[in-house]
């Protein structure tokens, strides 16, 4: 492949943060800013290199190189491969380079923001914080440019570890460690299926490579075409099964229903962490993985439909819960879940571009919103309850306007970035849905969610920034420094304009080629064989239907979603954009409690853990101590009892001995006599 010259620096993208991790861990204590500097330089370096790679890909080059063989060995795979290699390699194609840029950019901004958020607040344990941030960035970047499923899984797990550590950063509290544990366990549950998927795919196709002729995608395609039997299933079914198994990991990491419960709790971590990990990047890992191996899912309509439906449902489900939260971060958390639902929906209906597009946009505006929330929290002296805020608009204009930009993007108000991507997703869902009822249902849910999104977003904005201050903290907010503002502004601009990357509706209306992202992902500039949008699109087995014409359909879709978003925003305005907003909980009636308690999802999972698993474990323990160990001890006590009896024949009276002796002798005589037939 060409361009290895530039690309040979690719590993450094991930290695810089790794170095930062080591440095911060070992020397952080003695460094100015406790290791932040190292992190900032490292992420800056990564960003720089990522941009270089991006440019290189834009220049029509791609990079797919195996760097290091982990291990290899003989197998007898279902498709007849005799040998398998597990390697670490780099795959730089449009998708991964785009993601690299996003991740390293957000990471850099978060590092900078941390200066204002953590250092300024005089936290302890900063070296640990920056080290873990570095480790996370390393793992995330490595995950992004992984060229095979196993490597992806490994770094997938590592980001999980970092998430655990960072959520539990304030380990001296009771809640943070618990939230961290929950986050890891729930995602681990998903990863269990993911790992089965990896193992299954490897055992089936004898390869775990994403791209190239020896990728498992290609192998699966050939298997399906040849009608091979895989582990007793016909190929397509098996692909569906394995695909869904991998999807388990995705659902866990991207906090999709029913494994979404960890994300709101994860807000126990520092807000910067929430911004980086639980909004922009790690949570995106799941969706990114689907996009990464989209070719595989494209082979299985069932899997796609399930993805779409789960996505649509989660989008609505989470949005409804976001409506009633008081904690600003909680609202953002549920909106994150909801937004990833959209991405899943997009990918599920084959809207590869739409999904990735929304992934990108969301990364920016959600990072923005979280950092904004972080700024608000600084302003509010670490108060997160929106009901204690209010009126911050004038006191912190920068925060307000950037936050607003993010909110508009999130709500999907034209022309902010969120609108374009969300609209595209819904459009793709609609056209497929017209043929596929399941998808239509998913679309419907996504559509309804738009309303809620608009509502809770602006409820948040109004409660936080508008009206009268509702606490003395809100009266005189704590000022924020440049380290806070710079990232906000940067992201604010991005959130506003990044939508330009793919103005599909405009392009269709005016029929001009401005859908850059689509071209990008379609490999107009350069891509790896098989990993391009149109190839996916050909594989995706869905029919597409239109209401009268394509344009009309698009306009209807766009109009409806925009209308709903505005409606939501307006409702919020009427309810909350008043000097003294009230909770309006009665309006929802019984539903309110249900929503407040998140549909009792947590209760359910806690019950699973404590109501089911624990008793079983205790029962097993009791069984073990009584029955199994009892048997062991029983044997010994029985023999000892026997011993205490046996020795009683030694009565101490010599006459008895003589008698017993004679008796024994006669007994022996009898036995032998009977055998020998003496009498």
């Amino acid at each position: 492949m060409a361009g290895t010259g530039t690309f040979s620096y690719a590993p450094a993208i991930a290695l810089f943060p790794l170095v930062a991790f080591v440095v911060a861990l070992v020397f952080g204590k003695y460094m100015p800013k406790k290791g932040a500097i190292a992190g900032i330089f490292a992420t800056a370096g990564s960003l720089l290199l990522s941009l270089v790679m991006f440019a290189a890909v834009a220049g029509g080059e791609v990079y797919h190189e195996t760097l290091y063989e982990w291990t290899s060995g003989d197998i007898t795979s279902q498709v007849g491969a005799e040998e398998i290699e597990f390697t670490f390699g780099i795959l730089l194609d449009p998708l991964s380079t785009l993601m690299l840029v996003i991740v390293s950019l957000v990471a850099l901004l978060v590092h900078v923001f941390s200066l204002g958020y953590m250092n300024a607040e005089g936290e302890t344990g900063l070296p640990r914080y920056y080290a873990e941030l570095g480790l996370f960035t390393f793992s995330m970047l490595a995950f992004v440019f992984a060229d095979n499923l196993l490597m992806a899984f490994m770094f997938f797990e590592l980001v999980g570890l970092c998430s655990y550590l960072l959520i539990g950063f304030w380990f001296r509290t009771r809640s943070a460690p618990s939230a961290a544990k929950k986050a890891f366990l729930v995602t681990r549950f998903g990863d269990y299926f993911f790992l089965i998927g990896v193992v299954a795919i490897a055992a089936t196709f004898g390869t775990v490579a994403f791209a190239g002729d020896d990728s498992f995608v290609t192998a699966a395609e050939t298997a399906i075409n040849d009608g091979t039997q895989l582990f007793g299933f016909d190929a397509r079914t098996w692909v569906t099964i394995t695909g869904l198994l991998v999807l388990g990991g995705v659902i866990g990491k991207s906090a999709q229903f029913p494994l979404h419960t960890w994300l709101p709790d994860a807000m126990e971590g520092p807000t910067t962490v929430s911004a980086l990990i639980h909004a922009a990047t790690m949570v995106a890992a799941g969706v990114y993985l689907v996009a990464r191996m989209f070719g595989y899912y494209a082979l299985s309509p069932t899997a796609l439909a399930i993805i779409a439906f789960v996505g649509g449902f989660t989008a609505l489900f989470a949005a409804t819960m976001g409506v009633v939260k008081d904690d600003v971060k909680q609202v953002l958390a549920y909106s994150t879940i909801s937004q990833y639902g959209y991405m899943m929906l997009g990918l599920g209906v084959g809207g590869y571009v739409a999904g990735v597009f929304h992934l990108m946009n969301h990364a920016f505006f959600k990072a923005l919103l979280f950092l904004g929330a972080g700024a608000v929290i600084i302003l509010m002296h670490h108060e997160q309850d929106m009901w204690k805020m209010g009126g911050l608009k004038d006191k912190a204009p920068v925060t307000y306007y950037t936050f607003l930009a993010g909110a508009l993007a999130l709500a999907g108000i034209i022309p902010f970035s969120g609108f374009w991507s969300k609209d595209e997703i819904l459009y793709d869902a609609l056209i497929v849905g017209l043929e596929e009822p399941v998808i239509l249902a998913a679309y419907a849910m996504g559509l309804v969610a738009v309303f809620f999104t608009g509502f809770y977003t602006f409820r948040m904005v109004f409660l936080t920034f508008h009206g009268e201050p509702r606490s003395e903290a809100a009266e005189d907010p704590h000022p924020v420094g440049w380290a806070v503002k710079v990232p906000l502004i940067t992201l604010g601009i991005l959130a506003t304009v990044v939508g330009l990357a793919n103005l599909a509706p405009i392009a269709k209306l005016l029929s001009i080629d401005i859908t850059f992202l689509e071209f990008w992902l379609d490999g107009e500039y350069g891509a790896i064989e098989g990993l391009t949008y149109h190839e996916y699109h050909e594989t995706v087995p869905f029919e597409e239907g239109y209401i009268s014409s394509e344009t009309v359909t698009m306009l209807i879709g766009a109009g409806v979603s925009l209308g709903l978003a505005l409606a939501g925003a307006f409702t919020a305005h009427t309810l909350y954009n008043v000097p003294e907003p009230s909770r309006h909980m009665t309006k929802l009636g019984g539903a309110y409690t249900v929503l407040r308690s998140n549909y009792y999802q947590d209760e359910f999972q806690v019950w699973l853990a404590e109501g089911v698993t624990q008793p079983i474990a205790r029962a097993a323990d009791r069984f073990d101590r009584t029955v199994i160990d009892g048997t062991v001890n029983g044997v010994s006590s029985i023999s000892l009892f026997g011993s205490s009896r046996v020795k009683r024949i030694q009565t101490g009276i010599v006459t008895n001995y003589a008698a017993l002796l004679v008796a024994g002798f006669i007994g022996l005589l009898l036995v032998l006599g009977l055998y020998g037939g003496w009498f």
């Binding site: 020795k647 009683r648 030694q650 009565t651 101490g652 009276i653 010599v654 006459t655 003589a658 008698a659 004679v662």
Partner: protein, 101 residues
């Protein structure tokens, strides 16, 4: 006229059983010892009878040895019974039961 060897065997067996009976029932150490001697002599009868029957003298010679050894045994036995009496003030074999089980 000669008596068939079987009768000697029967005689010796009877003697043996008498001795055994004594061993099992007598509590006096000396009686116990005597009974044991009876059993030995039962063996002697056998030996001599069989020696006569087989027509070789091995048995008779052995019988002599047996008697000699029986005498030695008695000697040792009496010594032990003596110290027994000294320690337990009794020659009842069922008395010393300090060690059991």
């Amino acid at each position: 006229m000669t008596v068939a060897v079987e009768y000697y065997v029967l005689l010796s067996m009877g003697l043996f059983c008498i001795g055994l009976f004594g061993v099992l029932t007598r509590r006096n150490a000396l009686m116990f010892l005597m009974s044991a001697e009876l059993m030995l002599n039962a063996a002697n009868i056998n030996l001599i009878a069989f020696a006569f029957y087989h027509g070789n003298l091995t048995g008779q010679v052995f019988a002599l040895f047996t008697m000699a050894l029986a005498a030695a045994e008695v000697a040792v036995g009496l010594g032990i019974i003596l110290v027994l009496y000294r320690n337990f003030r009794d020659v009842d074999v069922t008395v010393p039961t300090t060690m059991r089980w």
